[in-house]
Amino acid sequence: MRFRSDARQRGLNADLRALAAKVPQLHVVPPRALVISAGALTVSVAGALLFPQGFTEYGFLAWLLPMIPAFLLCYYRGWTRLMVILAAAMALLALGYVVAALLGTTPPEWPSIGFVIAAYIGIALGAGWFREVRVAVDQRTAAERELRQTNLDLRKSHTDLQLAQWKLIETERLEAVGQLAAGVAHEVKNPLMTLLTGVHYLMQRVSPTDGNVKTLLEDMHEAVKRADAVIMGLLDFSAPRELALAPADLNAVVQRSAGMVKHEMTKARITLDLDLSADLPPLALDVFKFQQVLVNVLTNAAHATPPGGRIIARTHRRDEVTTLEVDDTGSGIPEEALGKLFDPFFTTKPAGKGTGLGLAVSRQIVEMHGASIDIGNRPEGGARVTIAFNVGKERA
Protein backbone atom coordinates (compact mmCIF):
# COMPACT_ATOMS: atom_id res chain seq x y z
CA MET A 1 0.00 0.00 0.00
CA ARG A 2 1.41 3.33 -0.96
CA PHE A 3 -1.29 5.83 -0.17
CA ARG A 4 0.12 9.31 -0.09
CA SER A 5 3.56 8.20 1.05
CA ASP A 6 5.16 8.97 -2.31
CA ALA A 7 4.53 12.67 -2.10
CA ARG A 8 5.58 12.66 1.54
CA GLN A 9 8.76 10.76 0.75
CA ARG A 10 9.60 13.19 -2.01
CA GLY A 11 9.07 16.12 0.33
CA LEU A 12 11.27 14.59 2.99
CA ASN A 13 14.00 13.76 0.53
CA ALA A 14 14.07 17.39 -0.50
CA ASP A 15 14.24 18.41 3.16
CA LEU A 16 17.15 16.06 3.73
CA ARG A 17 19.03 17.41 0.74
CA ALA A 18 18.51 20.96 1.96
CA LEU A 19 19.74 19.95 5.38
CA ALA A 20 22.86 18.29 3.98
CA ALA A 21 23.64 21.42 1.99
CA LYS A 22 23.47 23.49 5.16
CA VAL A 23 26.17 21.51 7.01
CA PRO A 24 29.09 23.97 7.04
CA GLN A 25 32.20 23.19 5.05
CA LEU A 26 35.13 24.15 7.30
CA HIS A 27 38.10 26.10 5.95
CA VAL A 28 40.44 26.44 8.91
CA VAL A 29 43.65 26.34 6.85
CA PRO A 30 44.76 29.62 5.49
CA PRO A 31 45.65 29.19 1.84
CA ARG A 32 48.80 27.13 1.94
CA ALA A 33 50.86 29.48 -0.23
CA LEU A 34 50.12 32.24 2.25
CA VAL A 35 51.29 30.16 5.20
CA ILE A 36 54.53 29.19 3.58
CA SER A 37 55.14 32.58 2.11
CA ALA A 38 54.63 34.26 5.46
CA GLY A 39 57.04 31.84 7.21
CA ALA A 40 59.68 31.98 4.60
CA LEU A 41 59.36 35.72 4.04
CA THR A 42 60.31 36.23 7.66
CA VAL A 43 63.25 33.88 7.24
CA SER A 44 64.54 35.45 4.08
CA VAL A 45 64.21 39.02 5.31
CA ALA A 46 65.94 38.00 8.53
CA GLY A 47 68.61 36.26 6.44
CA ALA A 48 69.14 39.29 4.30
CA LEU A 49 69.49 41.47 7.37
CA LEU A 50 71.68 39.11 9.33
CA PHE A 51 73.82 37.97 6.46
CA PRO A 52 73.81 40.82 4.05
CA GLN A 53 76.89 39.46 2.36
CA GLY A 54 75.15 36.17 1.58
CA PHE A 55 73.66 37.20 -1.74
CA THR A 56 75.26 37.15 -5.05
CA GLU A 57 73.97 36.14 -8.37
CA TYR A 58 75.87 32.88 -8.18
CA GLY A 59 75.09 32.37 -4.56
CA PHE A 60 71.44 32.56 -5.33
CA LEU A 61 71.88 29.95 -8.05
CA ALA A 62 73.90 27.79 -5.68
CA TRP A 63 70.92 27.66 -3.32
CA LEU A 64 68.54 27.16 -6.09
CA LEU A 65 70.33 24.26 -7.78
CA PRO A 66 70.01 21.67 -4.96
CA MET A 67 66.32 22.43 -4.82
CA ILE A 68 65.70 21.42 -8.41
CA PRO A 69 66.40 17.67 -7.94
CA ALA A 70 64.40 17.79 -4.71
CA PHE A 71 61.56 19.40 -6.56
CA LEU A 72 61.69 16.75 -9.29
CA LEU A 73 61.81 13.97 -6.70
CA CYS A 74 58.69 15.37 -5.06
CA TYR A 75 57.04 15.66 -8.42
CA TYR A 76 57.63 12.01 -9.33
CA ARG A 77 56.75 10.68 -5.89
CA GLY A 78 53.58 12.70 -5.88
CA TRP A 79 54.57 14.65 -2.74
CA THR A 80 52.56 17.60 -3.83
CA ARG A 81 52.63 19.39 -0.50
CA LEU A 82 56.40 19.29 -0.23
CA MET A 83 56.57 20.36 -3.83
CA VAL A 84 54.55 23.42 -3.07
CA ILE A 85 56.83 24.16 -0.14
CA LEU A 86 59.95 23.87 -2.29
CA ALA A 87 58.47 26.04 -4.97
CA ALA A 88 57.63 28.62 -2.36
CA ALA A 89 61.16 28.43 -0.93
CA MET A 90 62.62 29.01 -4.38
CA ALA A 91 60.44 32.05 -4.81
CA LEU A 92 61.45 33.30 -1.40
CA LEU A 93 65.15 32.99 -2.06
CA ALA A 94 64.61 35.12 -5.12
CA LEU A 95 62.77 37.60 -2.92
CA GLY A 96 65.64 37.56 -0.42
CA TYR A 97 68.00 38.34 -3.25
CA VAL A 98 65.92 41.33 -4.29
CA VAL A 99 65.78 42.56 -0.68
CA ALA A 100 69.58 42.32 -0.41
CA ALA A 101 69.97 44.21 -3.67
CA LEU A 102 67.61 46.92 -2.43
CA LEU A 103 69.57 47.25 0.82
CA GLY A 104 72.65 47.82 -1.32
CA THR A 105 74.72 45.17 0.45
CA THR A 106 77.64 43.57 -1.25
CA PRO A 107 77.24 39.84 -1.09
CA PRO A 108 80.26 37.53 -1.14
CA GLU A 109 80.85 34.89 -3.78
CA TRP A 110 79.16 32.06 -1.81
CA PRO A 111 76.14 32.23 0.39
CA SER A 112 76.46 32.31 4.06
CA ILE A 113 76.00 28.87 5.58
CA GLY A 114 74.05 30.52 8.38
CA PHE A 115 71.53 32.03 6.03
CA VAL A 116 70.96 28.77 4.22
CA ILE A 117 70.42 26.99 7.54
CA ALA A 118 68.07 29.70 8.69
CA ALA A 119 66.13 29.54 5.44
CA TYR A 120 65.80 25.76 5.59
CA ILE A 121 64.78 25.82 9.24
CA GLY A 122 62.11 28.37 8.34
CA ILE A 123 60.86 26.19 5.53
CA ALA A 124 60.90 23.10 7.69
CA LEU A 125 59.01 24.88 10.45
CA GLY A 126 56.50 26.22 7.95
CA ALA A 127 56.10 22.80 6.39
CA GLY A 128 55.78 21.10 9.76
CA TRP A 129 53.15 23.54 10.92
CA PHE A 130 51.39 23.27 7.64
CA ARG A 131 51.42 19.50 7.86
CA GLU A 132 50.10 19.57 11.40
CA VAL A 133 47.26 21.85 10.43
CA ARG A 134 46.54 19.72 7.40
CA VAL A 135 46.31 16.58 9.50
CA ALA A 136 44.07 18.31 12.01
CA VAL A 137 41.88 19.56 9.24
CA ASP A 138 41.79 16.17 7.57
CA GLN A 139 40.71 14.62 10.83
CA ARG A 140 38.16 17.30 11.39
CA THR A 141 36.83 16.95 7.85
CA ALA A 142 36.58 13.19 8.28
CA ALA A 143 34.77 13.65 11.57
CA GLU A 144 32.48 16.16 9.95
CA ARG A 145 31.71 13.84 7.09
CA GLU A 146 30.99 11.05 9.50
CA LEU A 147 28.77 13.30 11.55
CA ARG A 148 26.92 14.41 8.48
CA GLN A 149 26.46 10.82 7.37
CA THR A 150 25.26 9.81 10.81
CA ASN A 151 22.89 12.71 10.77
CA LEU A 152 21.57 11.69 7.38
CA ASP A 153 21.22 8.09 8.56
CA LEU A 154 19.33 9.28 11.59
CA ARG A 155 17.07 11.45 9.52
CA LYS A 156 16.49 8.56 7.18
CA SER A 157 15.61 6.22 10.04
CA HIS A 158 13.34 8.89 11.35
CA THR A 159 11.69 9.25 7.95
CA ASP A 160 11.34 5.48 7.61
CA LEU A 161 9.82 5.32 11.05
CA GLN A 162 7.42 8.10 10.23
CA LEU A 163 6.45 6.43 6.98
CA ALA A 164 5.89 3.15 8.77
CA GLN A 165 3.82 4.99 11.33
CA TRP A 166 1.77 6.70 8.66
CA LYS A 167 1.19 3.42 6.93
CA LEU A 168 0.14 1.85 10.19
CA ILE A 169 -2.23 4.69 10.94
CA GLU A 170 -3.56 4.55 7.40
CA THR A 171 -4.05 0.80 7.65
CA GLU A 172 -5.72 1.09 11.01
CA ARG A 173 -7.85 3.90 9.73
CA LEU A 174 -8.88 1.77 6.78
CA GLU A 175 -9.61 -1.17 9.02
CA ALA A 176 -11.72 1.06 11.22
CA VAL A 177 -13.46 2.45 8.14
CA GLY A 178 -14.01 -1.11 6.95
CA GLN A 179 -15.59 -2.24 10.19
CA LEU A 180 -17.62 0.92 10.38
CA ALA A 181 -18.67 0.58 6.76
CA ALA A 182 -19.81 -3.00 7.19
CA GLY A 183 -21.83 -2.08 10.26
CA VAL A 184 -23.27 1.06 8.74
CA ALA A 185 -24.03 -0.73 5.50
CA HIS A 186 -26.15 -3.32 7.21
CA GLU A 187 -27.96 -0.75 9.30
CA VAL A 188 -28.57 1.55 6.35
CA LYS A 189 -29.45 -1.01 3.70
CA ASN A 190 -32.44 -2.30 5.60
CA PRO A 191 -34.16 1.08 5.89
CA LEU A 192 -33.23 1.73 2.25
CA MET A 193 -34.99 -1.49 1.32
CA THR A 194 -38.10 -0.28 3.13
CA LEU A 195 -37.93 3.08 1.38
CA LEU A 196 -37.35 1.56 -2.02
CA THR A 197 -40.21 -0.87 -1.72
CA GLY A 198 -42.47 1.81 -0.29
CA VAL A 199 -41.64 4.24 -3.07
CA HIS A 200 -42.34 1.60 -5.69
CA TYR A 201 -45.62 0.73 -4.02
CA LEU A 202 -46.68 4.36 -3.99
CA MET A 203 -45.54 4.93 -7.56
CA GLN A 204 -47.93 2.25 -8.72
CA ARG A 205 -50.76 3.88 -6.88
CA VAL A 206 -50.26 7.57 -7.55
CA SER A 207 -52.71 9.09 -9.97
CA PRO A 208 -51.04 9.91 -13.30
CA THR A 209 -52.52 13.39 -13.08
CA ASP A 210 -50.80 14.21 -9.80
CA GLY A 211 -47.51 15.50 -11.17
CA ASN A 212 -46.08 16.73 -7.87
CA VAL A 213 -46.47 13.46 -6.05
CA LYS A 214 -45.03 11.63 -9.02
CA THR A 215 -42.00 13.94 -9.11
CA LEU A 216 -41.56 13.63 -5.38
CA LEU A 217 -41.62 9.88 -5.53
CA GLU A 218 -39.13 9.88 -8.38
CA ASP A 219 -36.82 12.13 -6.36
CA MET A 220 -37.16 9.83 -3.38
CA HIS A 221 -36.36 6.86 -5.58
CA GLU A 222 -33.28 8.64 -6.86
CA ALA A 223 -32.24 9.56 -3.32
CA VAL A 224 -32.45 5.95 -2.20
CA LYS A 225 -30.35 4.82 -5.15
CA ARG A 226 -27.77 7.46 -4.34
CA ALA A 227 -27.55 6.50 -0.72
CA ASP A 228 -27.14 2.91 -1.80
CA ALA A 229 -24.37 3.90 -4.22
CA VAL A 230 -22.48 5.64 -1.40
CA ILE A 231 -22.77 2.58 0.82
CA MET A 232 -21.58 0.33 -2.00
CA GLY A 233 -18.66 2.64 -2.70
CA LEU A 234 -17.70 2.71 0.95
CA LEU A 235 -17.80 -1.07 1.18
CA ASP A 236 -15.80 -1.28 -2.00
CA PHE A 237 -13.21 1.12 -0.67
CA SER A 238 -12.80 -0.47 2.71
CA ALA A 239 -13.20 -4.13 1.92
CA PRO A 240 -9.91 -5.95 1.89
CA ARG A 241 -9.72 -7.46 -1.49
CA GLU A 242 -7.55 -9.86 -3.34
CA LEU A 243 -6.90 -9.80 -7.00
CA ALA A 244 -7.57 -12.72 -9.30
CA LEU A 245 -4.67 -12.01 -11.61
CA ALA A 246 -4.38 -13.68 -14.99
CA PRO A 247 -2.57 -12.67 -18.16
CA ALA A 248 -4.94 -10.45 -20.07
CA ASP A 249 -5.03 -8.14 -23.04
CA LEU A 250 -5.36 -4.56 -21.81
CA ASN A 251 -6.92 -3.52 -25.12
CA ALA A 252 -9.69 -6.07 -24.70
CA VAL A 253 -10.40 -4.74 -21.20
CA VAL A 254 -10.50 -1.19 -22.58
CA GLN A 255 -12.89 -2.25 -25.32
CA ARG A 256 -15.18 -4.03 -22.91
CA SER A 257 -15.20 -1.09 -20.50
CA ALA A 258 -15.88 1.29 -23.38
CA GLY A 259 -18.82 -0.91 -24.33
CA MET A 260 -20.17 -0.60 -20.81
CA VAL A 261 -20.19 3.21 -20.87
CA LYS A 262 -21.15 3.58 -24.51
CA HIS A 263 -24.81 4.11 -23.76
CA GLU A 264 -24.11 6.91 -21.30
CA MET A 265 -21.69 8.56 -23.72
CA THR A 266 -24.15 8.46 -26.58
CA LYS A 267 -26.85 9.89 -24.34
CA ALA A 268 -24.54 12.77 -23.39
CA ARG A 269 -23.53 13.24 -27.07
CA ILE A 270 -19.89 12.50 -26.36
CA THR A 271 -17.68 10.67 -28.82
CA LEU A 272 -15.53 7.94 -27.34
CA ASP A 273 -12.57 7.01 -29.51
CA LEU A 274 -10.17 4.18 -28.89
CA ASP A 275 -6.59 4.39 -30.09
CA LEU A 276 -5.15 1.02 -29.14
CA SER A 277 -1.63 -0.13 -29.83
CA ALA A 278 -1.24 -3.58 -31.34
CA ASP A 279 2.10 -3.91 -29.60
CA LEU A 280 1.05 -4.50 -25.99
CA PRO A 281 2.41 -7.37 -23.92
CA PRO A 282 -0.12 -9.41 -21.95
CA LEU A 283 -0.51 -7.94 -18.46
CA ALA A 284 -1.34 -9.63 -15.18
CA LEU A 285 -4.81 -8.23 -14.58
CA ASP A 286 -7.85 -8.88 -12.50
CA VAL A 287 -10.07 -8.18 -15.45
CA PHE A 288 -13.24 -7.43 -13.49
CA LYS A 289 -11.60 -5.13 -11.02
CA PHE A 290 -9.70 -3.37 -13.76
CA GLN A 291 -12.87 -2.94 -15.73
CA GLN A 292 -14.33 -1.28 -12.65
CA VAL A 293 -11.40 1.17 -12.71
CA LEU A 294 -11.80 1.90 -16.41
CA VAL A 295 -15.54 2.34 -16.22
CA ASN A 296 -14.94 4.74 -13.34
CA VAL A 297 -12.30 6.71 -15.24
CA LEU A 298 -14.40 6.84 -18.40
CA THR A 299 -17.49 7.89 -16.47
CA ASN A 300 -15.53 10.66 -14.78
CA ALA A 301 -14.28 11.79 -18.17
CA ALA A 302 -17.84 11.77 -19.50
CA HIS A 303 -19.06 13.83 -16.56
CA ALA A 304 -16.31 16.38 -17.22
CA THR A 305 -16.93 16.61 -20.95
CA PRO A 306 -19.59 18.90 -22.39
CA PRO A 307 -22.02 17.63 -25.05
CA GLY A 308 -20.33 17.35 -28.41
CA GLY A 309 -16.99 16.68 -26.68
CA ARG A 310 -14.61 13.84 -27.25
CA ILE A 311 -12.91 11.26 -25.07
CA ILE A 312 -9.94 9.25 -26.26
CA ALA A 313 -8.68 6.09 -24.61
CA ARG A 314 -5.21 5.31 -25.83
CA THR A 315 -2.86 2.42 -25.11
CA HIS A 316 0.78 2.32 -25.99
CA ARG A 317 4.01 0.74 -24.98
CA ARG A 318 7.46 2.16 -24.58
CA ASP A 319 10.12 -0.35 -23.62
CA GLU A 320 8.94 -2.02 -20.42
CA VAL A 321 6.16 0.45 -19.70
CA THR A 322 2.65 -0.10 -20.95
CA THR A 323 0.46 2.95 -20.62
CA LEU A 324 -3.23 3.63 -20.84
CA GLU A 325 -4.32 7.24 -21.21
CA VAL A 326 -7.80 8.64 -21.09
CA ASP A 327 -8.08 12.21 -22.38
CA ASP A 328 -11.20 14.30 -22.17
CA THR A 329 -12.08 17.66 -23.67
CA GLY A 330 -13.65 19.04 -20.51
CA SER A 331 -12.59 22.09 -18.58
CA GLY A 332 -9.71 20.33 -16.81
CA ILE A 333 -9.21 20.02 -13.09
CA PRO A 334 -8.84 23.07 -10.84
CA GLU A 335 -5.29 23.36 -9.52
CA GLU A 336 -6.39 23.11 -5.89
CA ALA A 337 -8.30 19.89 -6.56
CA LEU A 338 -5.42 18.05 -8.24
CA GLY A 339 -3.82 16.88 -5.02
CA LYS A 340 -7.05 15.64 -3.50
CA LEU A 341 -8.57 13.67 -6.35
CA PHE A 342 -7.73 10.31 -4.81
CA ASP A 343 -8.86 11.22 -1.30
CA PRO A 344 -11.93 9.28 -0.21
CA PHE A 345 -15.09 11.37 -0.34
CA PHE A 346 -13.44 14.17 -2.31
CA THR A 347 -15.49 15.06 -5.34
CA THR A 348 -15.67 17.94 -7.78
CA LYS A 349 -19.02 16.82 -9.08
CA PRO A 350 -22.22 18.58 -8.15
CA ALA A 351 -24.04 17.19 -5.12
CA GLY A 352 -25.57 13.86 -5.91
CA LYS A 353 -23.40 13.17 -8.95
CA GLY A 354 -20.53 11.39 -7.29
CA THR A 355 -19.79 9.54 -4.10
CA GLY A 356 -16.17 10.71 -3.96
CA LEU A 357 -15.05 7.11 -3.69
CA GLY A 358 -14.59 6.13 -7.34
CA LEU A 359 -11.01 7.30 -7.71
CA ALA A 360 -10.01 6.23 -4.20
CA VAL A 361 -11.16 2.71 -5.01
CA SER A 362 -9.63 2.90 -8.48
CA ARG A 363 -6.26 3.83 -7.11
CA GLN A 364 -6.34 0.98 -4.63
CA ILE A 365 -7.09 -1.45 -7.41
CA VAL A 366 -4.47 0.01 -9.78
CA GLU A 367 -1.79 -0.04 -7.10
CA MET A 368 -2.65 -3.59 -6.15
CA HIS A 369 -1.79 -4.38 -9.75
CA GLY A 370 1.63 -2.82 -9.19
CA ALA A 371 0.67 -0.06 -11.60
CA SER A 372 0.32 3.66 -11.04
CA ILE A 373 -2.47 6.11 -11.76
CA ASP A 374 -2.02 9.85 -12.25
CA ILE A 375 -4.35 12.62 -13.23
CA GLY A 376 -3.30 15.92 -14.70
CA ASN A 377 -4.39 18.66 -17.03
CA ARG A 378 -3.37 18.61 -20.66
CA PRO A 379 -1.75 21.79 -21.96
CA GLU A 380 -4.26 21.86 -24.81
CA GLY A 381 -7.17 21.66 -22.33
CA GLY A 382 -9.05 18.87 -20.64
CA ALA A 383 -7.72 16.28 -18.25
CA ARG A 384 -5.64 13.17 -18.76
CA VAL A 385 -5.69 10.05 -16.64
CA THR A 386 -2.58 7.94 -17.04
CA ILE A 387 -2.34 4.37 -15.84
CA ALA A 388 1.13 2.91 -16.25
CA PHE A 389 2.29 -0.67 -15.89
CA ASN A 390 5.98 -1.14 -15.52
CA VAL A 391 6.40 -4.72 -16.68
CA GLY A 392 10.13 -4.66 -16.07
CA LYS A 393 9.65 -3.62 -12.45
CA GLU A 394 7.12 -6.34 -11.95
CA ARG A 395 9.53 -8.96 -13.18
CA ALA A 396 12.38 -7.70 -11.03
Binding site: A185, H186, K189, N190, P191, L192, M193, T194, L195, L196, T197, G198, H200, Y201, Q204, R205, V224, D228, M232, L235, D236, A239
Partner: protein, 125 residues
Protein backbone atom coordinates in the same frame (compact mmCIF):
# COMPACT_ATOMS: atom_id res chain seq x y z
CA UNK B 1 -56.38 -17.28 -13.32
CA UNK B 2 -54.19 -19.53 -11.28
CA UNK B 3 -54.10 -19.36 -7.50
CA UNK B 4 -51.94 -16.76 -5.83
CA UNK B 5 -48.45 -17.86 -4.94
CA UNK B 6 -47.84 -18.05 -1.25
CA UNK B 7 -44.75 -16.26 -0.03
CA UNK B 8 -43.42 -16.46 3.52
CA UNK B 9 -41.41 -13.37 4.29
CA UNK B 10 -39.09 -13.61 7.29
CA UNK B 11 -37.23 -10.46 8.30
CA UNK B 12 -36.72 -8.88 11.71
CA UNK B 13 -37.33 -5.44 10.22
CA UNK B 14 -41.06 -4.92 10.48
CA UNK B 15 -40.93 -1.99 8.05
CA UNK B 16 -39.48 -4.24 5.39
CA UNK B 17 -41.97 -7.05 5.86
CA UNK B 18 -44.84 -4.56 5.93
CA UNK B 19 -43.88 -2.65 2.77
CA UNK B 20 -42.82 -5.73 0.85
CA UNK B 21 -46.03 -7.55 1.82
CA UNK B 22 -48.02 -4.56 0.62
CA UNK B 23 -46.07 -4.38 -2.59
CA UNK B 24 -46.23 -8.08 -3.40
CA UNK B 25 -49.89 -8.40 -2.51
CA UNK B 26 -50.55 -5.21 -4.44
CA UNK B 27 -49.55 -7.01 -7.62
CA UNK B 28 -52.44 -9.37 -7.06
CA UNK B 29 -50.25 -12.37 -7.73
CA UNK B 30 -49.13 -13.22 -4.21
CA UNK B 31 -50.37 -13.98 -0.81
CA UNK B 32 -47.75 -13.00 1.72
CA UNK B 33 -47.27 -13.94 5.33
CA UNK B 34 -44.77 -11.85 7.21
CA UNK B 35 -42.83 -13.11 10.18
CA UNK B 36 -40.38 -10.93 12.17
CA UNK B 37 -38.70 -13.58 14.28
CA UNK B 38 -36.41 -16.21 12.86
CA UNK B 39 -37.37 -18.58 15.63
CA UNK B 40 -41.01 -18.38 14.56
CA UNK B 41 -40.29 -19.07 10.89
CA UNK B 42 -40.52 -22.86 11.02
CA UNK B 43 -43.92 -22.85 12.72
CA UNK B 44 -45.14 -20.15 10.32
CA UNK B 45 -44.00 -22.19 7.34
CA UNK B 46 -45.72 -25.32 8.64
CA UNK B 47 -48.97 -23.42 8.98
CA UNK B 48 -48.73 -21.31 5.85
CA UNK B 49 -47.23 -23.88 3.45
CA UNK B 50 -45.53 -21.28 1.26
CA UNK B 51 -44.47 -21.73 -2.35
CA UNK B 52 -41.30 -19.78 -1.57
CA UNK B 53 -39.62 -18.38 1.51
CA UNK B 54 -37.86 -15.03 1.47
CA UNK B 55 -35.48 -15.18 4.40
CA UNK B 56 -33.37 -12.48 6.02
CA UNK B 57 -29.90 -13.59 7.14
CA UNK B 58 -29.07 -11.40 10.15
CA UNK B 59 -31.83 -11.69 12.71
CA UNK B 60 -31.29 -11.32 16.43
CA UNK B 61 -33.06 -14.37 17.80
CA UNK B 62 -32.23 -16.91 15.12
CA UNK B 63 -30.27 -16.21 11.98
CA UNK B 64 -31.36 -17.12 8.49
CA UNK B 65 -28.85 -19.91 8.17
CA UNK B 66 -30.31 -21.70 11.17
CA UNK B 67 -33.86 -21.15 9.96
CA UNK B 68 -32.88 -22.63 6.59
CA UNK B 69 -31.39 -25.66 8.32
CA UNK B 70 -34.60 -26.20 10.29
CA UNK B 71 -36.67 -25.93 7.14
CA UNK B 72 -34.42 -28.38 5.31
CA UNK B 73 -34.79 -30.83 8.15
CA UNK B 74 -38.56 -30.74 7.88
CA UNK B 75 -39.99 -33.49 5.70
CA UNK B 76 -42.80 -31.38 4.34
CA UNK B 77 -40.89 -28.12 3.90
CA UNK B 78 -37.55 -29.38 2.65
CA UNK B 79 -38.61 -28.93 -0.98
CA UNK B 80 -39.74 -25.34 -0.51
CA UNK B 81 -37.41 -22.92 -2.29
CA UNK B 82 -35.63 -20.47 -0.01
CA UNK B 83 -34.22 -17.17 -1.22
CA UNK B 84 -32.10 -15.18 1.17
CA UNK B 85 -32.78 -11.49 1.36
CA UNK B 86 -29.76 -9.90 2.95
CA UNK B 87 -28.08 -6.60 3.65
CA UNK B 88 -24.82 -8.30 4.46
CA UNK B 89 -23.45 -8.91 0.99
CA UNK B 90 -21.77 -6.27 -1.05
CA UNK B 91 -22.90 -6.75 -4.58
CA UNK B 92 -26.41 -6.31 -5.84
CA UNK B 93 -26.48 -9.72 -7.36
CA UNK B 94 -29.70 -11.21 -8.36
CA UNK B 95 -30.15 -14.87 -8.03
CA UNK B 96 -30.94 -15.66 -11.60
CA UNK B 97 -27.30 -14.84 -12.31
CA UNK B 98 -26.25 -17.76 -10.13
CA UNK B 99 -25.01 -16.12 -6.91
CA UNK B 100 -25.70 -18.04 -3.74
CA UNK B 101 -25.04 -18.14 -0.01
CA UNK B 102 -24.26 -21.61 1.21
CA UNK B 103 -26.03 -23.11 -1.76
CA UNK B 104 -29.10 -20.89 -1.46
CA UNK B 105 -29.87 -18.13 -3.90
CA UNK B 106 -29.86 -14.65 -2.45
CA UNK B 107 -30.97 -11.10 -3.11
CA UNK B 108 -28.97 -8.18 -1.71
CA UNK B 109 -30.90 -5.40 -0.06
CA UNK B 110 -31.79 -2.78 -1.13
CA UNK B 111 -33.21 -3.94 -4.42
CA UNK B 112 -35.97 -2.84 -6.75
CA UNK B 113 -39.02 -4.88 -5.75
CA UNK B 114 -39.62 -5.82 -9.41
CA UNK B 115 -36.39 -7.77 -9.19
CA UNK B 116 -37.72 -9.66 -6.21
CA UNK B 117 -40.73 -10.66 -8.26
CA UNK B 118 -38.41 -11.84 -11.04
CA UNK B 119 -36.56 -13.99 -8.57
CA UNK B 120 -39.73 -15.39 -7.05
CA UNK B 121 -41.02 -16.28 -10.48
CA UNK B 122 -37.69 -17.81 -11.44
CA UNK B 123 -37.76 -20.13 -8.46
CA UNK B 124 -41.42 -21.03 -8.39
CA UNK B 125 -42.16 -21.70 -12.03
Amino acid sequence: MSAKKRILLVDDEATITRTLKLYLEGTGAYEVRAENRGSAALQAAREFKPDLILLDVAMPDMDGGEVAAQLRADDVLKGTPIVFLTALVKKQEVVTSGGDIGGYPYIAKPIEPEKIIEVIEHHTS
